[in-house]
């Protein structure tokens, strides 16, 4: 019985994963990323005060979100380049290698920033700058 429940759970879970809309999934991840950026961005720009605990918490969230986005094949499968509310550029599929590299670089920069656990604004800016620079370069090449 227990085995059956496990199997049933596994099947329903995978069914959920398979039926989920990758366009919605990746946009949800981007929106979550935006929400964290709205905490970190104003601090980096000096418009909000630097608080080490708050910054570390946000950096860890940003990192978790970045790692969750590295499964490029699940989030940008073949055929998800149109329809829905797609804003991903054809280059995501035409330049797969470059896109995977960009995604991994962002994840590595986000991990390094969280790992650094900056204790003051200067240290925070030093690790956050490289993370934030990924946004523009990736949107330039891979977002419509």
């Amino acid at each position: 019985m227990r085995f059956l429940v496990c199997v049933a759970t596994a099947i329903s879970l995978s069914a959920v994963a398979a039926s989920a809309d990758p366009i919605e999934d990746r946009q949800a991840l981007m929106k979550e990323r935006g929400a964290v950026m709205r905490i970190l961005g104003p601090i980096a720009q000096g418009r909000e005060p630097f608080e080490a605990d708050k910054v570390l918490e946000a950096l860890e969230e940003l990192n978790a979100n970045a790692q969750a986005t590295t499964d490029v094949d699940a989030l940008w499968p073949e055929g998800s380049d149109s329809g829905g509310d797609n804003d991903s550029a054809p280059a995501v599929w035409e330049d797969r290698e470059g896109f995977v590299a960009a995604t991994n670089k962002y994840a590595a920069d986000a991990a390094a920033a969280a790992e650094a656990a900056p204790q003051d604004l200067e240290a925070f800016r030093a690790v956050f700058g490289p993370v934030a620079s990924n946004c523009g370069s990736c949107h330039e090449a891979y977002r419509l």
Binding site: G34, R38, Q45, D87, P90, C135, H139, E140, L144
Partner: protein
Amino acid sequence: MTSRSSYLLLAGAALVAAAAGALWFASAPQRLDAALVEDMPTGDAARGEMVFWAAGCASCHAESGATGDDRLVLAGGTRFETPFGTFVAPNISQHSDDGIGAWSAEDLANAMMRGVSPEGRHYYPAFPYASYARMQVEDVADLYAFMQSLPAVEGIAAPGDVGFPFNVRRGIGLWKRLFLDDQPAVALDDASQQVLRGQYLVEAMGHCGECHTPRNALGALDASQWLAGAAPLEVEGRPVPNISPGEDGIGGWSEDEIVALLESGFTPEFDSVGGTMAAVVRNLAELPADDREAIAAYLKAIPAHPNGY
């Protein structure tokens, strides 16, 4: 054939010839006033570098996505797929055969401000001379001095493909007669020096209107919807945002927030601009902070419009 009908035929032919002559004359490439370019001063390369970034030369003429010093490699070759056809950014490096290394400062001024090549041909207005027409000749002189310090790069890109009737270059002469002038796009009463500087950066050098302002059927900017946002120029693009200061535009943004976008690419919502705007931000980030503030002040001072797309 009666003598009367042959007379009519002759008169008709004369009229057609006169009309063709007038068209030929009207469509001829017009250079800048000789007096204006004769007095062109020797430029200052350091100032010219700022003109280079403000005018966004690298956005089209360097490799797409180029950063850092790669933006100074102006080999061209980027292709723009538009409803008028495919335009290709030419090599404007200092190569004397493949680029513009053999040009004089006057040649550069005539190209940028009148859309006329040194050989006397019309350029397509995909090259934003309709905006650069508002530039000061002194700034072109400075730009010329700076560009002479840039590398010569070999190579001429494969030509574009523009269909009839747009491939008739003389037609561009008529287009210029209708749409090319050096007057400001918007009238600003009692504008501060800062706003006027912003106007020059936006309307002349930055050529922001080329993407952010809707065009009429002949491809000229519609000044009555200045910076109201526009359908994309490129076939696969997205609508270009309204940056006039209304509800549809960026009326809710503070000047500081506009400045932050111009420097970092982040919107007040901390989305990050992409597409062709990413290169624009990289260019504008090179300018003195005063210039980004002037752009923001100007964008707050112009009339608000509903979305132009």
